[in-house]
Amino acid sequence: MNSIIPYLIVGAIVFVLGIFTIVYKKNAVGILMGVELVLNSVNINFIAFAKFVDTGIHGQIISIFVIILAAAEAAIALAIILNIYRMKATVDVTQLNKMKH
């Protein structure tokens, strides 16, 4: 396992899957999962680069912060989604188009 390429490929696949999920899903929670996927792909990349490119541990540090902030983001997001469910009894983002133009 001395090549960086496989990591990059996995990272890119997860990234694209995440973006695809974000665009494709109607469910707000699904979109959040897509976001998590993207962030995790970034984490894979960072850690891989930390190993192969950098001699330090910068990549690992930043991936820890990404994990933490993903958690915080998810917490707030779930709170908002909960409120939406309370008001509209749905979490379908296509229903959220009251404000436009």
Partner: protein, 631 residues
């Protein structure tokens, strides 16, 4: 003392701010204190600075107070700076000093008006803008003041906006002066473009090096500036707004005519003298404009029945004298006449105001009469003012200032005998219509009872101004009478002097003076005969067809309004009406249409749908990446 110069324009602006923001809460007494006080302190500071200036002139005979840099980008550098030299000192002094008395007077004149504080707010702004105009050290400040003055005149002429006629007069003043302003703005751009600086002094020093005498650009620039000057100073052909501007309250008229607004044109030309001297053609045009205006306005003044309109035409005519003097290169004579004119014209307007106040706001002087006894102070001061306007020899200040102009119209470098003749004839007409006004108003039968007796707030300004209208002339005596040249010596540092050249032919000068003096006296006598002794001569004359026509013609200000109506307004309206759908219109229809289409196209993207937004961001990223990959 010089360091307080910034207070001079700042105080009126401050007064304006206070009155505009808190006017209603202040009440009339406090409003008056703020309104009059700000100008008063300003005037006091100006006088102290003036004394200092006389006793120990600043280095280079000019004091520049740079307050701060407004914009500094490479060569475009605008300082908020005040430039005080002899010329601007005279103007500042007149504006603040005369302005102060007018403000004081207004306290009584406007006492019953419900918009008391609004009036003083506008007046303060007016004075402030004018001070900015004369003290500004660069073209931008000058232009700012210039536009400010225009705005204030609009606000004040239309002060009683509930009467639509006043609004109309205000609009007329605004639009007519705008025509000139547009020309001036182009002229200023031309100057900036040619010299790369906005600083007036730098332009003046660079001009002779860049432009030779008679340079085309110099002629064009000066003519454009002249366009602005004739607009503001109500000279031919843009004089039509001033008589209608009488719609404003009388103190406003006094301020417009004496201290601010109309003299701005005179200031502009005097300030830019260095460039005018490079364009003899323009100088000549200035002189012609002045001479023509003074005659035409004089004729129009002959038949007016509204006391304020007489004064309005007399102002146009007197400013014509100043232009004449500027045109022949007699700079200091023009400024001298400006100062004296400010004194007696303010006095006359304030006197007229007192009369109008006493006559139930009647302005037709033929409905008045016999007021000499009822209003003695007003009468005597008004008489002094009229004498000064008519240039009664020896005793009045107006004689000395006007005499200088008449003489220079002949003897100065740019002068000739025709200009001189016009000036002399103008002086004769001036005397006639001025005393016609005096006799009709103050003598004969009293027709309307006096409703308001002026108090000290009216009397004091009248007396003070009368004093200056009488004795102000003694600071500059002609070569034939002692050759006392205090004023022109003082101005020498700012404006080129030409006295030495002009005072050679003494006998001719005597002739000119005596002729003017005699004509003035004759005109007064003529007015006495025609309007007091034997008024039937006039009525007989006006009953004939020719006389009636002539009277109507003069009354309408020589038909300029009529002419412009047919020459410009109607064709313009006609073109605009018949030619609604031309190419240019299409362009202006197309532009909003296109903008609207763009708007709809763009707002389609704002669908409110999150997934499309995400797609937009993703596409933006993809397109950006494509761009960098391809490049």
């Amino acid at each position: 003392m010089y360091d307080f110069l910034w207070l001079v324009p700042t105080l009126p602006f401050l007064g304006f701010l206070i009155l505009a923001l808190f006017g209603k809460k202040l009440g009339k007494t406090l409003s008056a204190f703020v309104g009059v006080g700000s100008i008063g302190i300003s005037a006091l500071i100006t006088i102290l600075i003036g004394i200092r200036f006389l006793s120990s002139p600043p280095e280079g005979d000019a004091f520049v107070q740079t307050l701060w840099t407004w914009i500094a980008v490479d060569r475009f550098n605008v300082n908020i700076a005040l430039h005080l030299d002899a010329l601007s000192l005279v103007f500042t002094f007149v504006i603040t000093f005369v302005g102060f008395w007018i403000h004081l007077y207004s306290v009584e004149y406007m006492a019953d008006d419900e918009s008391f504080s609004r009036f003083f707010a506008y007046m303060n702004l007016f004075v402030g803008a004018m001070l900015l105009l004369v003290l500004g050290d660069n073209l931008l400040l000058l232009y700012l003041g210039w536009e400010g003055v225009g705005l204030c005149s609009y606000l004040l002429i239309g002060f009683w906006y509930k009467d639509s006629a006043n609004g109309y007069a205000a609009r007329k003043a605004f639009i007519v002066t705008r025509v000139g302003d547009a020309a001036m703005a182009i002229g200023l751009f031309l100057l900036f473009y040619s010299f790369g600086t906005l600083n007036i002094q730098e332009i003046l020093t660079q001009a002779p090096q860049t432009w030779s005498v008679g340079n085309n650009l110099a002629v064009i620039a000066t003519l454009l500036l002249l366009g602005g000057a004739v607009g503001k100073s109500a000279q031919l052909p843009l004089q039509v707004w001033l008589p209608d501007a009488m719609a404003g309250p009388t103190p406003t008229s006094a301020l417009i005519h004496a201290a601010t607004m109309v003299t701005a044109g005179v200031y502009l030309i005097a300030r830019m003298h260095g460039i005018y001297e490079l364009a003899p053609v323009s100088m000549f045009v200035v002189a012609i404009v002045g001479a023509a205006t003074l005659l035409i306005a004089g004729f129009a003044g002959l038949t007016q029945v509204d006391i304020k309109r007489v004064l309005a035409y007399s102002t146009i005519s007197q400013i014509g004298y100043m232009f004449l003097a500027l045109g022949v290169g007699a700079w200091s004579a023009a400024i001298f006449h400006f100062m004296i004119h400010a004194f007696f014209k303010a006095l006359l307007f304030l006197g007229a105001g007192a009369i109008i106040l006493a006559q139930h706001h009647e302005q037709n002087m033929f409905k008045m009469g016999g007021l000499a006894k009822a209003l003695p102070v007003t009468f005597w001061t008004f008489l002094i003012g009229s004498g000064s306007l008519a240039a009664l020899p020896l005793v009045t200040a107006g004689f000395y200032s006007k005499d200088a102009i008449i003489w220079f119209a002949w003897s100065a470098e740019g002068g000739n005998i025709y200009l001189w003749a016009a000036a002399v004839f103008g002086a004769f007409i001036t005397g006639f219509y001025t005393f016609r006004m005096v006799f009709v108003t103050f003598f004969g039968q009293q027709k309307i009872d006096v409703s308001h007796f002026p108090k000290w707030t009216i009397h004091v300004p009248l007396i003070v101004l009368a004093f200056f209208a009488l004795f102000g002339g003694f600071i500059e005596l002609p070569g034939t009478m002692g050759h006392f040249t205090l004023f022109s010596d003082f101005l020498k540092s700012a404006l080129p002097a030409m006295e030495e050249v002009a005072h050679e032919n003494v006998s001719l000068e005597y002739f000119s003076q005596i002729l003017t003096a005699v004509l003035a006296l004759v005109s007064v006598y003529l007015a006495y005969v025609l309007y007091l002794k034997k008024p039937q001569i006039v009525t007989n004359f006006t009953d004939t067809g020719f006389g009636k026509g002539l009277q109507q013609f003069f009354l309408s200000g020589l038909g300029f309004d009529w002419l412009y109506e047919r020459l410009f307004i109607r064709p313009y309206v006609w073109i605009a009406r018949t030619n609604k759908r031309d190419f240019i219109d299409l362009f202006y229809v197309f532009l909003p249409w296109m903008s609207r289409q763009f708007h709809y196209a763009f707002s389609y993207t704002q669908s409110g749908k999150v997934r499309r937004y995400i797609l937009g961001i993703a596409l933006g990223a993809v397109v950006s990446i494509t761009i960098v990959v391809i490049l």
